[in-house]
Amino acid sequence: MNKLFSLLFILSVFLIKDSTPNQFIARQGQVTFFSYASVENIEAKNNQVLSIIDFDNDKIAVSMLMRAFVFKKDLMHEHFNESYIESDIYPKATFEGSLENFDIKTNTEQTQLINGTITIHGISKEIGIKTTIIKSKKGIELVGEFNLIVNDFDIKIPPILSNNIAKVVLVKFNFQYLPYEIN
């Protein structure tokens, strides 16, 4: 009987250990970019960004539809998609990175650098993104910001509009993840 209890105890330890989710998903992540220029400021927001975290491999992946960015003016949306990003040819922007030194077990807020590759307009660049990771009751929240140089991604701005769009664009993000069960 004692051996049976010991066996059950050991099994229950493994079960408890395995029940901790190691994959998390955010389907409605938010990414906002800001262009501050002398002629005008432009802000666009995407509220349907997808991101998956896999703590087994310490990986994070982000994917967003460029057409889903919302501008205050529809004409800006049109120019962004048709002339600058060419979203018919490059519909998505992606990021694949590594979660280095992030400890899922801790409940305290952590600020880590996530190094990875961002791909926009068909061009990939290595980037380090300072990210704050907050563990909540439901899941995980990631917030952060970084700068992107527009020229790095072969985005062509007509000379007549060069004062309307900043050379460096500020990007902010906020993802709220829930446990992800892969079917």
């Binding site: 389907r27 409605q28 938010q30 539809l65 889903a68 003016k73 004409l75 049109e78 519909p91 079917n183």
Partner: protein, 142 residues
């Protein structure tokens, strides 16, 4: 000489006026008034995208579509009002980001309720994404 500059000024002012008028019309004409190109079930829409994203994009991207399905979730994330319709599998659905005029209808809605939603299809990640969406609540006998 003066007449030439006067003519250029008139042309420039006309072009500028035309640009602002066009901007005003584009910004103020919303898709609530437009008829959808197609009516499709949420399950079939997600299945099509899952099976062949390229073909589904050719059919639906940037088009106003009317989707019918059951409500899987009502979300207020990002200070947005979003209805997620159940898709062909548990892994996917149709994320419908509502136009701000539709918020008052949300208190009439429940999970698993059948509903029609019209919006502009933007594409697919793990879910199909509709923006600027409008609700058409089914009557009880429909």
């Amino acid at each position: 000489m003066f007449k030439k500059y006067k003519l250029l000024l008139i042309i420039n002012l006309t072009l500028l006026l035309g640009y602002f008028l066009y901007s005003f019309l584009v910004d103020n004409y919303n898709n609530k008034q437009l008829s959808p190109k197609v009516t499709i079930s949420a399950k079939y829409l997600t299945y099509l995208y899952f099976s062949n994203e390229k073909t589904a994009n050719e059919l639906y991207v940037n088009k106003i579509i009317k989707v019918y399905g059951t409500i899987k979730e009502i979300s207020y994330l990002n200070d947005r009002n979003t209805i997620i319709l159940a898709g062909h599998s548990n892994a996917s659905g149709v994320i419908c980001d509502l136009n701000k005029t539709e918020f008052t209808k949300l208190n009439q809605l429940k999970i698993n309720q059948p509903i029609y939603i019209k919006g502009i299809c933007k594409g697919y990640l793990k879910d199909v994404i509709l923006l600027n969406s409008y609700i058409d609540i089914l009557k009880n006998n429909e």
